[in-house]
């Protein structure tokens, strides 16, 4: 993989990037964690003011020369307690009741709320709506063709930090709540064990009629397959029976691994099975764990591939991890392990290449055309800069700190560029594939 361009993102800790083709421009929207102990609110050179980390808006039309357009401050607070980590974007012209001239950005506001902004002019975003009174808001999914949104939140009374609130955001200025959803046992009034909290869903929309929910980060993962139609139109009161009704199946993972991202790759032709009467195409869900602890103080968090062709009998078929020995990553400082994958389903890479952020091991390009045998075909680890923050572990009661790259998230655009962002304040790096990886993706 080759570096094309970069932005320092004002040395803000970055979480989720979303790349939007907006008119004749390409705009990157990047969510941030809160500030650090050393710098709680970095100065924005565009305004000259200290601003709590929120959302950065960067023009990446020319990927060799990204232009920082605007920073929208988020909730004051440090690390996970502030910022605006998550961001999704839909154009008004694709939403059923949207303003055709508008471009809507859905973001979290700290952990307290979801906000919708009109970013048609990305240098002058306008706040439209806030859904608040929540806690632990996180990685939502928004269908741009229907407006249905699966908002990850902590709602009052629920027994889990995070569950799903289904909303109709087809008219983003007027959100309509459809229902609350979670695993039975998480609902208000339940007793007994509390199942693992949700991390994020991915919907295949009305055509695929499935929502794949990932529960857990680094422990007790659950991948749940849900009938979207039944979820939206079934009985809505959060009783155990009503929560169970739309579920098709769930796959329990090891207690040592979570399900941060559940990325569906459906009807994939498998070359090896081409002559078989049944099963020559397979429905695959790529499950990405999230490493949480620094310097390998937990079980390895990695990538798993589940064959869900027989929906009520999902089966793990393969896995991928970066070799620790290839870079002595447990000694490099910070987290080592998987965190997330790209979530764009644009044809340029979909079902051919997947990109996995791996914290101090950078980003990894996987050839997934045969998901039974995923193969790494490229990688990139950004260089540390003066802005890169330290990561510490306790040794004999004292902090032992190392400065380390922490590639947190990755996203792709329809042109074939790959965008990675750093949790340790190193910024945004725009990459492209070269050599075998480029060939595998079918790019010229």
């Amino acid at each position: 993989m080759r570096l094309v361009g970069m932005s320092d993102l004002q040395a803000r800790s970055a979480y989720q990037p979303t790349i939007q083709h907006q008119g004749n421009r390409w705009i990157a929207y990047i969510g941030h964690h809160g500030g650090t102990d050393d710098v709680p609110a970095p100065v924005n050179p565009l305004t000259g003011k200290a601003e709590s980390n929120g959302t950065s808006i960067v023009d990446v039309t020319d990927p060799t020369n990204p232009k920082f357009l605007r920073h929208i401050p988020g909730l004051p607070g440090k690390y996970e307690d502030g910022g605006a980590q998550m961001v999704r974007v839909c154009e008004g012209k694709t939403l059923p009741k949207g303003d055709r001239a508008a471009v809507y950005m859905l973001r979290t506001f700290g952990s307290q709320a979801h906000e919708i902004w009109n970013v048609a002019d990305p240098t002058n975003p306008l706040l439209l709506t806030r859904i608040d009174g929540l806690q632990d808001t996180h990685k939502s999914w928004w269908e741009c063709d229907t407006g249905i949104a699966f908002l990850v939140s902590g709602a009052p009374g629920w027994r889990t930090r995070r569950m799903t609130q289904v909303y109709d955001l087809s008219d983003p200025a007027h959100p309509v709540k459809i229902r609350d959803f979670g695993l039975p046992g998480q609902e208000p009034g339940a007793t007994g064990a509390v199942p693992t909290e949700v991390h994020g869903p991915i919907s295949t929309g009305p055509k695929g009629n499935r929502v794949y929910f990932g529960y857990g980060t680094n422990k007790g993962g659950v991948m749940q397959i849900v009938d979207r139609e039944k979820l939206l139109n079934g009985p809505k009161e959060p009783t155990p029976d009503n929560l169970r009704a739309p579920e098709i199946s769930r796959m329990l993972m090891s207690s040592w691994n979570g399900a941060h991202t559940t990325f569906p790759m459906l009807q994939m032709p498998i070359a090896e099975f081409a002559k078989d009467k049944d099963g020559s195409k397979r429905d695959i869900v790529m499950i990405v764990d999230e490493a949480i602890l620094n310097e390998c103080l937990e079980a390895r968090q990695m990538v798993w591939f589940a064959d869900v062709s027989i929906e009520n009998r999902p089966m793990m078929i393969s896995n991928y991890t970066v070799s620790e020995a290839s870079g002595a990553f447990c000694q490099r400082g910070g987290r080592f392990g998987a965190h997330s994958s790209n979530e764009s389903m644009a044809s340029v890479f979909y079902e051919k290449m997947a990109f996995i952020s791996f914290f101090n091991a950078g980003v990894r390009a996987l050839d997934v055309r045969d998901p039974y045998h995923p193969k790494e075909v490229g990688y990139f680890i950004p260089a540390i800069t003066a802005a890169t923050d330290k990561r510490c572990v306790k040794v004999a009661g004292k902090d032992r700190c190392r400065v380390a790259i922490q590639t947190n998230n990755v996203e792709t655009d329809d042109r074939g560029y790959i965008y990675i962002v750093d949790r340790a304040n190193t910024g945004l790096h725009i990459l492209e594939l070269t050599g075998e990886a480029r060939q595998a993706a079918g790019l010229k």
Partner: protein, 178 residues
């Protein structure tokens, strides 16, 4: 800033001096350290490190740290929902039912909440268990006390045992000097 080991060692030393100063405290010290013995961890391996279990005075206690598991590193454990979620009561009975609202608790310098639960009957006898979750920054220490816990003094006795050197020395080893 002092780490937890320093704080606990200082408080244990102070507690010992104070204990030796009075008969009542001496009796309490004896009660803390006699009649309890370690037993095998009774649960199958899961995603968290295996903890430590003790039996004494007709009750059993199970304790282990869950590093990095606290929902809020600033406030610690402040809701009953979090006690339901993070303690190991579900390892005894997945269908545990709270008896009443929980209450604030501190175990040495660690603060959190405790809640009493009713478990499914065993041999026709109803059982109670108390779930305890206390936090140190982003780390949790969870404990379960099970047995005849209907009376408050029995629960207090278990809490006192959790504060003894027997438990705290082991716990500090697990917390790796945090």
């Amino acid at each position: 800033m002092l780490n937890r080991r320093t704080v606990v060692q200082a408080s244990l030393a102070a507690g010992l001096v104070a204990g030796l100063a009075g008969v009542a405290e001496f009796a309490k010290w004896r009660r803390d350290n006699t009649g309890w013995h370690a037993i095998s961890w009774p649960f199958p391996r899961d995603g968290w490190p295996t903890g430590k279990a003790w039996r004494g005075e007709g009750i059993e206690v199970y304790i282990r740290p869950k590093l990095g598991f606290c929902s809020n590193c600033d406030t610690g454990v402040v809701t009953d929902e979090e006690v339901d979620r993070v303690t190991d009561v579900d390892l005894l009975d997945e269908h545990f039912v709270p008896v009443h609202e929980g209450s604030r608790i501190h175990i040495t310098d660690l603060v959190g909440r405790a809640r009493l639960y009713r478990l499914k009957a065993k041999a026709g006898i109803s059982r109670l268990a108390e779930g305890i979750a206390v936090a140190y920054k982003c780390d949790l220490v969870v404990a379960v006390v099970v047995g005849d816990l209907a009376d408050e003094p029995t629960r207090r006795s278990a809490h006192a045992f959790l504060e003894t050197n027997t438990v705290q020395v082991w716990l500090n080893q697990q917390l790796e000097g945090r």
